[in-house]
């Protein structure tokens, strides 16, 4: 008989052969020493493989040796990264809500806005300038150039004019110069109705315009984008996005009716001019007292207020960037509510936005009346 192959021997040992075949293999293995060794070896392989496979039964749960897991980042790293992300996002939101995004101020644009304001008010501007109150810190040369221009009704101005101090009269001409200083030495232009021509350029000049004056500069402006309306008790707060990352905050104090423009300027001396309702409106003026670090009562007005945030020099640069938070307040003639607009940008820019907001509010009110 031919020697059986290894497969047949395994089949025989596994009992997979027919009875006849198994009998033949068995007989041959007894007679053939070579096949007897092969059979013994096969028995050994069968036993050994069973034993080896038994060792696999101790496989722990939840382990897959067949697929080596990829190297993972430590979960702690993810936790730290998530924490940093949350803190960064929170900081960004807080800073943005506070209007920390600085709006690069174009001096040319600022001048243009002021000129247009001036051009649209050829009659009223001089009177406003005439009422301009400028409280200047005599120790600071820049003070003479820090001005505020206000245009209001005659009634309103009478009371506030009575509160004018002497120093403001002395600075009257200078104030008007300051208003137009940013008009780029174009004081003789058709819209200029101020007094003396500017004599010295100043790095800082604030102006405030109230009274819902239409400005051509805003005609082509797109609608303001509302990016948030955070809840606040006693006030309606609206966040407008002027440009990507640049927001202003409009706060409408519902129960308080007051008129006033509050302008703050870091490092600039206080220059205030009263146009409001004397003591009554003065008490209503919303001024962040925390921001007022200096100044006397006479310097605080309910109409214009230039407040040095700190005693440090003015951070405004010649590049036109404004780093201080400016505030413009006025009263909505329709509702009588006080509106406060805050943002880190030039006052002229803030005034422009204010006009746009007034327009949009008026349009919304008209639409509400005549749907």
């Amino acid at each position: 008989m031919q020697h059986p192959d290894e497969g047949t021997i395994h089949s025989w040992l596994d009992g997979a052969l027919s009875a006849d075949e198994a009998a033949r293999i068995e007989a041959h293995a007894k007679e053939c020493p070579e096949c007897a060794v092969a059979v013994a070896e096969a028995r050994g392989f069968i036993a050994a493989s069973s034993r080896i496979l038994t060792a696999l039964d101790n496989a722990p749960r939840g382990v897959i040796p067949a697929t080596a897991p990829k190297k993972r980042i430590d979960p702690m790293v993810w936790r730290v990264a998530a924490t940093v992300l949350v803190v960064a996002a929170g900081t960004f939101l807080v800073v943005r809500d506070r209007g920390s995004d600085e709006q690069p101020m174009s001096v040319a644009a600022d001048r243009g806005i002021l000129l247009e304001k001036r051009a649209s008010l050829p009659e009223r501007a001089p009177s406003a300038i005439g009422r301009a109150q400028s409280v200047a810190d005599s120790a600071a040369p820049k003070a003479a150039a820090s001005k505020a221009l206000a245009i209001g009704t005659a009634k309103k101005t009478v009371a506030s004019a009575s509160r004018s101090d002497v120093a403001s009269r002395d600075n009257k001409a200078t104030a008007s110069e300051g208003v137009m200083m940013r008009a780029g030495q174009r004081a003789a232009g058709p819209g200029y109705a101020g007094g003396a021509a500017p004599t010295a350029p100043t790095p800082i000049a604030q102006s405030g315009v109230t009274g819902g004056v239409a400005m051509d500069a805003t005609n082509e402006s797109p609608p303001l984008k509302v990016v948030g309306t955070p809840r606040r008790i006693g006030a309606k707060v609206t966040l407008y996005e002027i440009a990507p990352g640049d927001t202003v905050t409009l706060t409408e104090a519902m129960p308080i009716a007051l008129e006033g423009v509050v302008v703050t300027s870091a490092g600039a001396p206080m220059a205030a001019r009263a146009l409001g309702k004397s003591a009554a409106s003065q008490s209503k003026t919303r001024v962040d007292t925390a921001a007022i670090t200096t100044g006397t009562d006479s310097q605080r007005t309910n109409r214009f207020l230039t407040v040095p945030a700190v005693s440090a020099p003015a951070p405004t640069s010649q590049e036109g960037r404004v780093s201080t938070l400016r505030v413009v307040s006025w009263t909505d003639p329709a509702t009588g509510n006080t509106l406060t607009l805050t943002g880190r940008m030039s006052e002229a820019r803030l005034q422009e936005i204010k006009i746009r907001i007034e327009r949009e509010r008026a349009a919304a009110a008209a639409a509400k009346k005549n749907p």
Partner: protein, 172 residues
């Protein structure tokens, strides 16, 4: 007792052991075994139950490995997490762990058909069932098994030898 219950009681132990040896993961093995019985439930009739069950289980493992990589990754992640928390049973010695690791290496070194045939045979499947499950000719099962056993043992012994040499070198 329903058919599925009978199938489960009859074959579950062998099937889970086969899959555990095949996959090296008890949880995964039980999961695949359960899925196998669920599929059996959908069948109106099964001619050779054991062959059918082992064939379906084998195909499930193959399909999962091929198609469901996400699940595999997920399990791998779980496995790694569990590895830190895993407490070795008291009776598991270093020697046993080494044996298991070498057995795994040895079985993984086999060709797929050889490995499956051997594992099925260890679970008591006869040559006909193995041939049916693996779509082999019945006459080739003996050859497949003999080759698988020889290679498994030789591979294991080679691993043992190299392990002993390493230990010797470490001792000296």
């Amino acid at each position: 007792m329903t058919d599925v219950e009978r199938l489960f009681r009859t074959y579950n132990t062998a099937l889970v052991r086969y899959l555990t040896r095949r996959l090296g993961d008890r949880d995964w093995a039980e999961e695949v075994a359960q899925e196998t019985f669920v599929r059996a439930l959908r069948q109106t009739s099964i001619q050779n139950e054991r062959a059918w069950l082992f064939a379906v289980a084998t195909n499930l493992v193959r399909d999962e490995a091929r198609k469901d990589m996400r699940r595999r990754k997920h399990l791998a992640l779980l496995a790694e997490e569990g590895r830190d928390e895993m407490v070795e049973p008291e009776e598991t010695t270093i020697e046993r762990a080494q044996e298991a690791a070498m057995a795994r290496k040895a079985i993984d070194a086999l060709a797929e058909k050889d490995r499956l045939a051997l594992l099925m045979r260890e679970e008591g499947l006869d040559y006909g069932e193995i041939a049916e499950a693996l779509e082999l000719s019945p006459g080739s099962v003996g050859t497949t098994l003999s080759r698988a056993r020889r290679r498994l043992v030789e591979s294991y012994e080679a691993l043992q030898k190299s392990q002993e040499e390493r230990e010797k070198n470490a001792a000296s």
